[in-house]
Subunit: 410 residues, 4 copies
């Protein structure tokens, strides 16, 4: 049986699945589930083309990993076939622990359960059924494989994950300015003492990459409309859980129902393997179909929020330099009260939050540049301009988001 | 309030919603629902990028309509603003009656209810609430508006619907060969006695358009894998309906449940306005979430088929020049029986079908070319080669599709 | 010294020069000369972006050859490194014998000297200075290398030459409909008994490729305006040669001057190596700078034609089903005479010609398709439609081209 | 006669020439000359696709001007048709005074004659023959038209000139990172008190635009290889002029010859209209054909430099933080002397220079942002990060460029 398979990808033309093991992993239900989890949650409310899935992203990252390793080999670095395969497995599976609307779920149903940890648990589970064939990939993922650059290609500020998602998000949103020139960056990568470095002549491309990342943050990932939609979804889940805990019956798939009713910790996941199975059946469809059913629920808070989200009648938002003060909150409270929202329910329609964004984080895992004179320095030092220094500043924005027009009468 | 809105579209760059009325229609829940209905059903099982929705397609077709009308105006044809708006409304709403997985649903739950008729009912419903402001658009959609070219731009073998969907499907699948040069075709359109014509110098582009259409049919729309997935979904719906009618409880959204339990005709839709409401809440999520739940159902036929579809363990397919003969069917029956499928259940795992495909249909609604000498002829006549004649031949392919490995033991 | 070099290519992203020998060939003045020879002659008079050179095309074809060989290796065919390099050399140099405006020159200054023969002579010359390192490449180019598919990749109806030029011409002209999906075709290539074949599942792509080729012929290569410009250039060269032979002094580079004054045959090239040197210094700049100077020449035929070409005041053209009859020619003669053109000079302002175009030639070097049942058949037979049969018909168009308004008064 | 003409442009799809007057200007020999002047001089030595001309750029800028004005009209600003046409004329002709290899020529043959002044003289000349129909366009070009934003669209830090050239240069070089999102920027433009402003929500796009501009400077416009080639061309012209002044005969077109023999000032151009004619016949072909002939000249300095440039045997270059000190120069002198370059000729093979680059210039003509609160501030102030501040720093780099291996023996 021929398991070499070629997939069309509008971003790269074609993606080849390079080995039987990788093919088997792609075929596995754990991975096929990613077909049903969108990369950008509800960003399609702003960018209608942004419907791409974590499935496609993971395949794209695997493709770029192949390109990067081939380029490094051509530069004379000895990289064995098993290492190539392991690195491609590690990047293929790096996001396998994402649930639907990860960002929201990690704040609600799965608080305290980071998706990276779930990815690891799922990888280990796969490894068991595959008789240890993922050992090396797991080491690379965890950073315990001796040749550190493999981990950096999987997870660092210059990893194939970012390379693909910036590329792909910019393609599917249509935000042309976010183009990062992944091809060129990959050709500029090199290895120095088993650490990943960029050659000096790639400096401009990296600067551009960091600028593009910042742009995508504000233009897409932290777009006001997305934040509003996420705020609404968060409140919906919170309300559903409250109702569920109060014994009120809610239409929900059995798997979603489980997480609504139970508070599940990372230790629970480790202790009870069947939880991982439950989690692995959860995807965007569980959430959306619940929303759609709940839009008809007799609880007015739940149905109002759900219907509004379905019809794209979103909250308003205001960014602030500091957390919202009592004056602003008071005004908004009064507005909402005037529309008939009882005091006890205000918190479902008025949300405070904070976004942070740092296009480049200085510190341990920095991007290193190999200068023509042989020295290796941090990108901040290598760059002639304070631009990069500036990008490494963490930007915090507080915000308040609220329902502008709302009516709880059915 | 400023209702001029600009949307990012990876295909065209930007789409502008050109009037308040169009904005209100886009905002309407009937139209927002199209965000939740994919243009290409399950084609993403073959082309992972093909996740675009009927929402985006309808907006794209509206955009192209704007371009086409502008070009015609620049050629000296008098087209009033209200006509422009009406034509854009007609194309925006032309697909509003599509349910989820239309192709499958029209064979099962909604047999005898063509989506064009539902589009018309929904448009009329909108028109009522908007005090007749869609009158002209509805006339154009139905072909009763005196200036016939408007109808042809909305619905003909050279309409803005096809122009956008070929463009868009080829973009999102990554099938580069399907590129049709919509820009150029639009600039080559003209009006002759209120009928749509193509200028002779656009002949090559039209030939290419028809060739591309044929390519997309075989490469995408009638791709073996898509046909297999559709065959499976059809059997799933059939089984679910049978179980439902037999009184067996099935997890399903209330709206899907309604259509499972009732056979609804077009006359029903006309007679009972609330049916249209029920229909207008139905989307891909109802189907997918049902599939996911049914994969755990105790009925082994239903759960086996659902789980296989979710995990992309698809039926096999074989194309034939004639309907499958008794020998072939016998062989396949024996194979399935050997895997433990009882005779009574065979029909769920072995499906016969027929596809037809004609890139160009000769007859009444042909594509007309205005030659340099002023005469207007059918494209078949205008083209120097028998190519187009050939494309107008209807190609029929019979097929048989079956489960290769299947086990009904839970 | 690192000779692995990476070049930006808007068409493919990046092109890597894969070996030192290939790098040295690219650096050679014979090859650098191709920087100064446009791929599409004067097509930029119609498509202002079509300025790409034979240099870029040859590199692109080398790139595609690398892709094709890699894909064949991945399918299990044994292809040695020296064979890969030789095939890439052969395709890199396949056009090295092109002079400026080849089409025109082969009708005038270099009649009877096909560019393929000059390519071969130049390759052999390079081979001498490189101690026989091009032996295998020359065998592949000539078709004497035992494994025939290499020659087919270099020169056949499915070679990397066409693959690149269709891709590239369509990119730089902006004729989007000409897109051929070279990536996909290359992945569908295979070898059967050392002959190049296409796998059956690539059939649609090949059909599309042939359709695109036909489109590019009429839309670009045989575009009326290009034919007019070529007709003018042909007359200019003819006039210049006549004047030169009559002893009238003409501004021209020494190399162009040589070919104006002498009739050079292929045997001359073989006998006198220094002729090859003279030829190898000839490029578009010799022609254009002569045109510019001749626009000021006192011979009114020469200067009128040159100035008109520089200012894009081009001949008119009319296509005909048969060679122009005496009536038409008479009418045009009278028109020109009325503008003051003496009878003896008419032939410079009125040109008859014939174009032929066949998108696919049946016969010996056909495109073979490997069917799923293992048989190998001609594409005409494999294709379900008469389309391809139709494309293989040679289309002939006669034309007459003439100066519409012309004044010989200085 | 129909003068509405549509041109293919790989960058924008299609460009429409919107009026008869604009069509006549495009047809004029002054403008057709721009077909023979490349936008990026010798950048194709680095980026082989960068062959686009000032002709195509000027048309592209005209196209963007049309888009910008349409967008401003749609925002409710009153802009008359004659103003639209004038603005498109002004941008179409803004570069008409460029000679071949402007950068080099303004340092040699045309020192003291800025191309902007020649553009103005040529526009005025056209205006005379067109009976004053370019009056308004010339006012816009000069900045004397009362509505200042027109001038800003033609010439400012956010003009349609930059918008097109960044777009186009990035397209043809293949430097994907330089993508600027011109579409989006244009949609974000607005007018405030007859001055051009950007709406606050376009801030990120402008930041990206300035970053892209900086990237293109270092990656393309000031690329080492380009600087080397320019240094060589400068020395070639210098040597040719010296020889010419010494009475030595040189093959050159009459027009080039004129400028070699005469030092022409701006006042000369103003006083002697025939000089403008001579200049208007000069293009890239004059330079390249001279280089090709001079490569055979008996003067070894001239022929050596020309042959090296033709064969792409370029100077080396070293960037420095300060002008090169005596030690470095001494070393290089000795190297060159060791290769047989006499002291008197050293200056032809060793060139010092300085590049400056400022992605954004603060001061009078700054980019203004209209904030949501209605205030209008400089982009430096509007941007949250010091990035833009940083970009406005002028970066100076000294360099020394020299022939690494050179032999004056013929």
């Amino acid at each position: 049986m021929n398991k070499r398979k070629i997939l069309n990808d509008p971003v790269y033309g074609f993606i080849t699945i390079p080995s039987e093991l990788l093919f088997d992993l792609v075929e596995h239900p754990y991975f096929q589930r990613l077909r049903r989890i969108r990369q950008l949650g509800m960003a399609d409310l702003v960018y209608p083309g942004a419907l791409h899935t974590r499935f496609h992203h993971a395949l794209g990252a695997m493709h770029l990993m192949g390109q990067a390793l081939k380029s490094l080999q051509e530069k004379g670095h000895l990289i064995w076939e098993p290492e190539c395969e392991a690195a491609q497995i590690a990047i293929l599976l790096h996001d396998i622990g994402h649930g639907p609307f990860s960002h929201v779920l990690e704040k609600t149903l799965l608080s305290g359960v980071p998706h990276e940890q779930l990815s690891l648990l799922l990888m280990k589970d796969l490894n068991r059924t595959m008789n240890g064939r993922l050992d090396m990939a797991i080491q690379m993922f965890q950073g315990t494989y001796p040749r550190h650059f493999f981990h950096q290609l999987v997870s660092s500020q210059l990893d194939m994950d970012r390379m693909d998602y910036l590329n792909r998000d910019c393609f599917y949103t249509g935000v042309a300015e976010g183009t990062i020139g992944a091809d060129r960056i990959i050709k500029m990568l090199n290895i120095h003492k088993e650490e990943l470095v960029v050659e000096e002549k790639g400096l401009l491309s990296i600067e551009n990459f960091l600028n593009a990342r910042r742009l995508m943050y504000w233009q897409v990932y932290l777009h006001k409309t997305s934040l509003c939609a996420e705020a609404m979804l968060t409140q919906i889940i919170r309300r559903a859980r409250d109702l569920s805990n109060a014994g009120i019956s809610l239409y929900a798939s059995p798997d979603l129902n489980f997480f609504l009713k139970n508070h599940t910790t990372l230790d629970d996941f480790k202790a009870q393997p069947e939880l991982l199975q439950t989690f692995s059946r959860l995807d965007d469809y569980d959430i959306w179909s619940a929303l759609k059913a709940w839009a008809q629920h007799e609880d007015l808070v739940l149905s109002t929020l759900c219907q509004a989200l379905l019809d794209r009648q979103l909250f308003k938002i205001q960014f602030l330099d500091t957390p919202p003060g009592p004056d602003l909150l008071d005004t908004l409270h009064r507005q909402l009260a005037a529309q008939g929202i009882p005091h006890a329910l205000l918190s479902y329609f008025l949300v405070e939050g904070q976004t942070t964004n740092s296009a480049y984080v200085t510190g341990e895992d920095q991007i290193r540049v190999k200068m023509k004179d042989g020295s290796v320095v941090d990108i901040v030092e290598a760059s002639e301009l304070p631009t990069i220094q500036a990008l490494s500043k963490i930007v915090r924005k507080d915000y308040v988001s609220w329902a502008k027009t709302v009516s709880l009468r059915a």
